[in-house]
Amino acid sequence: MAAAFTARGLVKRYGPVTALAGVDLDVEEGELVGLLGPNGAGKSTLVKIGCGLVRASAGEARVRGARAGSAEARAAMGYLAELFRFPGWYAADELLHLHQRLAGSAGGEAERAELLDLVGLADARGRRIEQMSKGMQQRLGIAQALVGSPPFLFLDEPTSALDPAGRRTVRRLLEELRRRGVAVLLNSHLLSEIELVCDRVAILAGGQLVAEGRPSELARPRGVEVDVNGGTRLFAGARRDDAPRIVAELVAGGEQVFGVRVLETTLEEIYLEAVGEESGP
C-alpha cells in the first residue's frame, strides 16, 4: 500500500527565494510525524504543496499514491490551515454540514455531533462562529479537517491559538487519531507537543530536511545521573546500558543509591543543534 504522504525532491521557488530545496519525506499510514523548523524554513510551503494549494517548482508530492492536488488526493486528506477563517454567520454545525457536502461525506448529523464532541464543542453546535473565541474557532477548524474521516491529515499549527487546556484537548485528539489509524503531518512550533504525541520528527531548515527520525533515535546520551549520600553524581558520556554497572560499583564502594537517571538530549536540544542556536523555533 502507498504511504499516506510522500515528497520526493520537492523544490519550491518564489522568484529568487528558494522555500524548499529538494525535500524527501514519507509519512506512513497511521503515523504521526511532527514537522519542525524555524520561521521561513519551508514547513507551511511543504504542507501547502501536499494540499494542492501551492504548485511545486520541481519534484513531486503524493497523498496515498495520488498526485497532490488531484481530486483523489484531496478526497483522501483533511487540512487545517495555519491562517484560516470561516464565515462568521455560520453556526458550528452548519459549517461542518457545508464541509460534509463538499467532501461528499455521508456521515450526517451523527458525524457532526461526534466531531464537535471530539474537539470539545458539543455545547456550541448552534453557536455562530463570529461569537466564538479564537481557540474555539481553531478547534472547529480541526473538526472541519476531520469531516469525511480522511485517512491522512495535514495540521498546520493546530494549537497556535489554544490555551493549555485546549492544547491538551488537541493532544488527546491526536492520540485518538493514532488509535484510529489516521496518519498526520503535524506542523508545530511547540516542541513539547511534538515530543509528546509524534512517532517521528522531521526538522526543516533553509528549505532542507536537516534531521529526521524517532525522537529516541535522534537523542544522544548525555550521561547517567545518580543520587547518592553526598548528593548527585554525573557520569558524563555513560549510556543506559552502563547504569547497572555504575550503580553496582557505587554500592560496592559503600555509597547508598537513592535514584538513577539516564540523561539524553531533549528534542529542544536536538532541534537547536539541527537548525542552529540562533534560530528560534
Binding site: 501547502k48 490551515a81 463538499l102
Partner: protein
C-alpha cells in the same frame, strides 16, 4: 460538477449576509423613490407644456420622449447599481478570500478549483440578475403608474441589463485572481466608467458626424460588451419610435442607444466563456 450547487448556495448565502447587500437595497429603495418622484413631476410638467406645432407635425410625442428619457435614466441607474452589487460580490473571491484565509478550506475539498470559480460566477450572476430584473420591473411599474407609458420592448432590455451585469461580474472575478480586493474594485469601476465614456463618445460622434469617435465607441462597446448590451437595450425601449421623437431620444443624456445586431448575444456568450476561462486558467496556476 457535484460541488456547483453547494458552492452556489454558499455564495448566495454569503451575498445576502454582506453588509453591502443591505447598502445596495437601501440605495435601491432611495433610487426608486427618487425616480418615482422625478417621473411624477416630469410627466406632470410634460403634459403642461404644449410642444410647437412644427414639432408635433414632425412626429414629436412628448409623453414618449419623457417616458423613454426617464426610463433610460432608470436603466442606467439599474446598470450602475447592478455593477456595484456585482463588483462587491466578486471582487475578493480569489485573492481577497485567500488573504483572509476563507478560500483555503474550500479549495482543498475534492470539488476542484474550476468548479469553485464557476459556481461563484453563477451565484453572482444569479443574485445580480435577479436584482437587476427586480429593479427594472420596479422602474417599469413606476413609469407606467406615473406617466402611463411603457417601453416598446420590455423583456429583451431587461435581460440585456442582467446580462451586462453578469459580464461585469465575470470581469471582476477575473480581476480577483490577480488583484487585491481594493485594487480590483477600483479596476472594475474604471472599466465600467470606460464603457460609459465610450457610449458618450459615440453619442458625441454621431452629433458631430465624426466617424473616428463613432468607431472608437463601437470598438469599445464590443470590447466591453456590457456597454453594447446596455446600448442595445436602450435602443429596444424605443424600437417603434419614429420621426422627431426618435431623433430626440438619440440625443439622450445616458449614452447613445444603438442597435447591436444579431451578433451581440453570441459575442456576449463567447466573451463570458473567454473571461471565465481565463479566470479559471489563472486560478488553476495560482499559489494560495
Amino acid at each position: 460538477m457535484r460541488g456547483v450547487p453547494i458552492v452556489i448556495g454558499y455564495a448566495i448565502r454569503e451575498s445576502v449576509r454582506r453588509r453591502v447587500f443591505i447598502v445596495v437595497l437601501v440605495l435601491t429603495a432611495a433610487f426608486l423613490g427618487l425616480y418615482g418622484l422625478g417621473a411624477d413631476k416630469a410627466f406632470e410638467e410634460a403634459q403642461g407644456v404644449a410642444p410647437p406645432t412644427e414639432a408635433v407635425l414632425a412626429g414629436l410625442d412628448s409623453t414618449e420622449l419623457t417616458g423613454a428619457t426617464l426610463f433610460g435614466l432608470s436603466m442606467f441607474g439599474t446598470l450602475f447599481l447592478g455593477t456595484v452589487l456585482a463588483a462587491f460580490l466578486t471582487l475578493g473571491v480569489v485573492r481577497g478570500d485567500a488573504e483572509r484565509g476563507l478560500l483555503q478550506p474550500l479549495v482543498v475539498r475534492p470539488i476542484g478549483r474550476p468548479t469553485l470559480l464557476f459556481a461563484r460566477f453563477l451565484a453572482a450572476a444569479l443574485v445580480c440578475g435577479l436584482y437587476v430584473l427586480t429593479v427594472f420591473g420596479g422602474a417599469l411599474l413606476i413609469t407606467w403608474a406615473t406617466g402611463d407609458w411603457v417601453p416598446d420592448r420590455i423583456v429583451a432590455p431587461a435581460i440585456q441589463l442582467a446580462a451586462g451585469v453578469a459580464v461585469i461580474a465575470a470581469i471582476s472575478l477575473l480581476g480577483s485572481v490577480f488583484l487585491t480586493t481594493t485594487a480590483n474594485g477600483i479596476a472594475v469601476f474604471m472599466i465600467f466608467g470606460a464603457g460609459l465614456v465610450a457610449g458618450l463618445l459615440g453619442q458625441i460622434g454621431e452629433v458631430l458626424e465624426s466617424d473616428t469617435l463613432t468607431r472608437v465607441a463601437e470598438i469599445s462597446s464590443w470590447v466591453l460588451p456590457f456597454e453594447a448590451l446596455y446600448q442595445d437595450g436602450l435602443n429596444a425601449i424605443t424600437a417603434d419610435s419614429t420621426g422627431l421623437t426618435e431623433f430626440a431620444l438619440q440625443l439622450g443624456p445616458f449614452g447613445g442607444a444603438q442597435a447591436a445586431g444579431g451578433f451581440l448575444w453570441p459575442w456576449t456568450l463567447t466573451y463570458l466563456l473567454l473571461v471565465c476561462g481565463a479566470a479559471t486558467a489563472a486560478f488553476a496556476r495560482k499559489d494560495l
